[in-house]
Amino acid sequence: MEQQLKQLEQEALAKLQAAANLKELNDVRVAYLGKKGPITDLLKGMGKLSPEERPKMGALVNAVRENVTAQLEERVAVLEEQAILEQLEKESIDVTLPGRKVRQGNRHPLTRVIEEIEDLFVSMGYEIAEGPEVEKDYYNFEALNLPKGHPARDMQDTFYITEETLLRTHTSPVQARTMELKKGEPIRIICPGKVFRRDNDDATHSHQFMQIEGLVIGENIRMSDLKGTLDALAKKMFGDDREIRLRPSFFPFTEPSVEMDISCFKCGGKGCNVCKHTGWIEILGAGMVHPNVLEMAGYDSKKVSGFAFGIGAERIAMLKYGVDDIRHFYTNDSRFLSQFHRTEG
């Protein structure tokens, strides 16, 4: 019987080793360790043995049983691992194939520029003021020290709707309206929006474009405040190493009036095609609010002062991104728009 047991053990172990997969292994388990298997039969047949042989035989059967079970488990582990490896091999993919990208759009470059400027000024305590695109002659011109017949308001440049209404030629009427609304209170606003001029559309002209104007009114607002503010703007939009310079200019609604240049961001001031070999690039117009403008809106020009500036969003975007034709902003070619997706800096 002991002989028989040894043989069974050998057989079982051989079959365990031969089993190629978990199913075959299970068959071996059932065949040798199952309730109807030979080892169980042997245990059942133990009753025929003598009492002194019984414990010996019992221990022997258990040892065989444990050994087979242990080997079986070991074998199961090996085969399970093998099965997983096979599964993984089957599931292997080409990771260099493109992913399922999530569709994403983005802001128009002009909005991108405007929001960047809005955010800068909001951080400096400004509010964003907006107004209608169709304006009254009064707010667009008269309230800004441009009475009817003033040489600086040429009929050629303005789209009139009636004698008294027009498409605004700048966002300054928003300033005039805000001043009227604030009734003598301090003001800090930035006014973005669409404006219109009678121009034929070409590479550098557009009958519709975007402006951002700023206005600060309060006690003791100085020209040095304007200069410091414009310097912050220049650095934000074109980099921390930009320098600015002011040149005298003329606008009917400011006195003194200036134009601001920034040192060329391409050549750093040495001279190149971007700056027309001057080292400087003209960016915007600004000035101290004309006392007539203050008085007309009900401010006491002896007590308060202010500054204003106006920027063309297209000009900033063209310089910043190197866009060579203003019409790109209005044809909405996806190949153009999609270039303004990523972050900078």
Partner: protein
């Protein structure tokens, strides 16, 4: 304004400063120099020649063989094709080796077998603009006076060894529309003196007042002065004068006309010369024109006048339009012997209106429009008399005949140094301020802590304290202004809730894969109301530049469709654009249209294209609707929005809905009608437009956290057989209305129309979720709630499957 530095040098010392440096200083202190033009353009080897003889070329009809002396005893053969070349002329010769403008190099050459050792030049060949070349030489070579010396430097002689500064003048600086005005500016910058012309001349014993009477019947002409000069000999002006004019961009004519133009440029005071005999009266009367009165102007055009146009008459008929243009009837001609010089002050507004109406803008009208210096009018007349005597052999009659009511007093500005420094944020000393004002030749006195300033009348732009602030600052240097930020800010900046939500709307659109477009507000009359949510009266331009941009839009969709077409025409297989912009509706009380901000989108072609996975999806109604629903979800409006089948011109009648917020229409969504698609060659295209003002303006409740569910939800499915035309939305409404507060969610999970259904029917399956946040629901409770729903559905005519 073109400023010849040779000319400028007559009034102010600019020796020892390079033209570029001078230009930079002028620009930085107030007047922008647009260009620095070297008139010699690097030309070399251009000399005076004497045409000794001229023979016809033996083999070419239009060519001449000239022997030209280009230096003592140095005679060269030069072939010349100019029609006006003649023997014994003094001409300009470019010798072999010469470089001319436009990269032209002169070499020895043979022309039809004849040797040519140089070129006889026209002014144009020397880089002078054709429009300023005297008419006599416009079509040929330029001929020099007889007394010029062969071999001498021709460029010097004709004033091309000069640099011209082109000034870009702002409207306030009309004082710089004259050489003297520029001289004052340059003198202030360089701390120099201004040398004014010395005016001296002899008069004859006859009196001007015996020749002419002057009367004025219009307030637009506060000063009219006439001087009379006899025995004038009309001829070409001396070379220096002609070349100053050409450098200033003015074409020389004859000495009398040139003198008036010279003084126009020198003093900025327009003058006019009449032929005394042609006036046919001894009277000048300035008055307003009679309506419809006619005059033939110097350019031979007959002009019909209006009653507000100011005219100069001989007492009867007009002889000039004041400040704008002279009449042909009194023009100075080669036969003129006696001239009347007009020096006058005409009201700027009147001149501007008249010159605009007649389309006649001239150097004269440009100066009158901006206001000439009241104190230079009479001086300019004297200067004219002097030059007519010196350069045209005229005899000046004694006296000036004038009507003069013109206020010539300077503008007084009183300002404190503190005001100036406070406004600038600087600390400029009183001494520095006084020094600057003196350099500007402003009359200034410091008294009681104030500066009392009388600005010279040539500076019409100086009126108020702020003007003085600018003068001080610009000459002190804007670079010296420090950089500060405004003090005392009591305001916290930020976006309004509307502005913040608008940015969120942009984020939703872009997160959904759409690019932001910007299109034009102006459109054609035809497209203005197309797709409008509510079409109202349109707003049209008074004078559009084109029909295409004549009317303000009432919907953003037409231009977005155009943009989609533009992209598809450039082979884009997928277009997804949105725009936020205003539409213009009707008219409000204050005469302006009502402006409403809208958001619109267009989707066309492919939507999903994961090519190698074989996953493709073309845009459809539900892609567009899903994007709009995402926006409403983000805005917290999901429960207040409904979609209702609708008809919109230009959209697919079976795939269009109105979008309702709290039952009010706030938008449309739909497929583009095939006929519309065809216009732009578009495939499946869907559009939507929302009244953003209403949508972002809708107030929503504060966001309050609801406890995360701790008890299980129970779902029940219902499948219904419905008429094909029955909107699922209505069924959902029925379910929602009947469901107790335990009903938390209704979802459509299947829609089937097909073979297995009866014709005209569809099957729609709904999944209903019941839930109570406080406890686990019992079966009975769910059954009871669900039965209410089923009952309501049956009552509504839905058939359970």
């Amino acid at each position: 304004m073109l400023v010849s530095l040779n000319w400028l040098r007559q009034y102010v010392d600019i020796d020892g400063i390079a033209p570029e440096e001078l230009a930079e200083k002028i620009t930085r202190s107030g007047i922008e120099v647009d260009a620095v033009i070297d008139r010699s353009q690097g030309m070399t080897n251009v000399v005076v020649g004497h045409v000794v003889s001229k023979e016809k070329h033996p083999d070419a009809d239009k060519l001449n063989v000239c022997q030209v002396e280009v230096g003592e005893g140095d005679i060269r053969q030069i072939i010349c094709g100019a029609p006006n070349v003649a023997a014994d002329q003094k001409v300009i010769v470019a010798l072999p080796g010469a470089r001319l403008p436009g990269g032209v190099k002169i070499k020895k050459a043979k022309m039809r077998g004849q040797e040519s050792n140089g070129m006889i030049c026209s002014l144009q060949e020397l880089g002078v603009e054709g429009r300023v070349v005297p008419k006599a030489y416009a079509e040929g070579i330029y001929v020099l006076p007889k007394d010029t010396v062969p071999g001498s430097d021709a460029l010097e002689l004709i004033g091309l060894r000069d640099t011209v500064l082109e000034l870009g003048l702002t409207p306030n600086r009309s004082d710089a529309l004259s050489m003297l005005g520029v001289a004052y500016e340059v003198a202030a910058i360089l701390s120099q003196e201004v040398k004014l012309p010395e005016i001296q001349y002899q008069t004859v014993s006859e009196k001007a007042e015996d020749y002419i009477k002057v009367s004025v019947e219009a307030k637009e002409n506060p000063l009219y002065a006439a001087k009379v000069v006899k025995n004038v000999k009309i001829a070409e002006s001396p070379l220096w004068l002609q070349h100053y004019l050409m450098a200033a961009g003015v074409r020389p004519h004859n000495n009398v006309v040139d003198i008036t133009n010279y003084i126009l440029m020198e003093y900025g005071q327009p003058l006019h010369a009449f032929d005394y005999d042609a006036l046919k009266s001894s009277e000048i009367l300035v008055r307003l024109a009679n309506e419809g009165e006619k005059i033939v102007t110097l350019d031979d055009q007959e002009r019909s006048l209006k009653a507000h146009n100011l005219v100069i008459t001989n007492g009867q008929e007009p002889v000039a339009i004041a400040g704008v243009m002279g009449g042909a009837n009194s023009e100075v001609t080669s036969d003129t012997t006696t001239v009347v010089i007009e020096a006058a002050y005409f009201d700027g507004f009147s001149v501007r209106r008249t010159s605009k109406e007649l389309g006649l803008r001239s150097d004269s009208s440009a100066r009158f429009e901006k206001g000439v210096d009241p104190n230079r009018v009479l001086i300019a007349g004297e200067r004219a008399a002097q030059l007519l005597a010196e350069l045209a052999g005229g005899e000046v009659l004694e006296g000036t005949v004038a009507v003069d009511d013109l206020d010539k007093s300077p503008a007084r500005v009183v300002v404190s140094p503190d005001f100036i420094n406070n406004r600038l944020g600087m600390k400029i000393s009183l001494e520095d301020m006084l020094s600057i004002l003196n350099r500007l030749q402003f009359d200034v006195e410091a008294a009681n802590g104030m500066l009392i300033i009388d600005a010279p009348t040539r500076r019409q732009d100086i009126k108020i304290e702020e003007d003085i602030v600018e003068e001080i600052a610009r000459l002190y240097g804007y670079d010296e202004i420090p950089m500060t930020l405004p003090e005392g800010n009591e305001q916290i900046g930020g976006l309004t809730p509307y502005q913040a939500k608008r940015r969120i709307a942009r984020n939703v659109m872009e997160g959904a894969g759409l690019y932001q477009a910007v299109t034009y507000s102006l459109t054609s009359d035809e497209l203005a109301q197309k797709f409008a949510l509510k079409a109202e009266d349109t707003t049209k331009l008074l004078m559009p530049m084109s029909e295409e941009r004549s009317t303000l839009r009432q919907s953003l969709i037409p231009h977005l469709i155009e943009a989609a077409g533009y992209n598809v025409a450039r082979k884009a297989d997928s277009v997804a654009l949105y725009e936020i912009g205003s539409v213009f509706l009707g008219k409000t009380e204050d005469e302006l249209p009502y402006e409403e901000e809208h958001l619109a989108l267009v989707l066309s072609g492919k939507w999903v294209d994961h090519a190698w996975q074989g996953e493709k999806l073309t845009v459809d109604f539900f892609v567009a609707k899903g994007i709009i629903e995402s926006l409403f979800e983000k805005l917290g409006l999901t429960d207040r929005i409904s979609f209702e089948k609708a008809n919109v011109d230009g959209l697919h009648p079976g795939q269009t809905a109105a979008i309702l917020l709290d039952g009010e229409k706030v938008g449309i969504i739909g497929g583009l009608h095939p006929i519309e698609r065809k216009k732009y060659d578009l495939k499946e295209t869907f559009v939507a437009e929302l009244n953003l003002k209403a949508v972002l303006g809708a107030e929503v409740e504060e966001l309050v956290y609801a406890s995360v569910p701790r008890f299980p939800a129970i779902t029940r499915d219902i499948a219904l057989e419905l008429d094909r035309s029955k909107p699922a939305g209505e069924i959902i409404e029925v379910i929602r209305a009947a469901g107790t507060k335990l009903l938390k969610e209704v979802k459509v999970f299947d829609v089937y129309e097909g073979d297995k259904m009866e014709a005209g029917k569809k099957s729609v399956a709904f999944s209903l979720t019941y839930f109570d946040p406080e406890r686990t629901l019992t079966d009975e409770e769910v059954v009871s709630a669900h039965n209410k729903v089923l009952k309501a559905l049956t009552e509504a005519g839905a058939e359970l499957r």
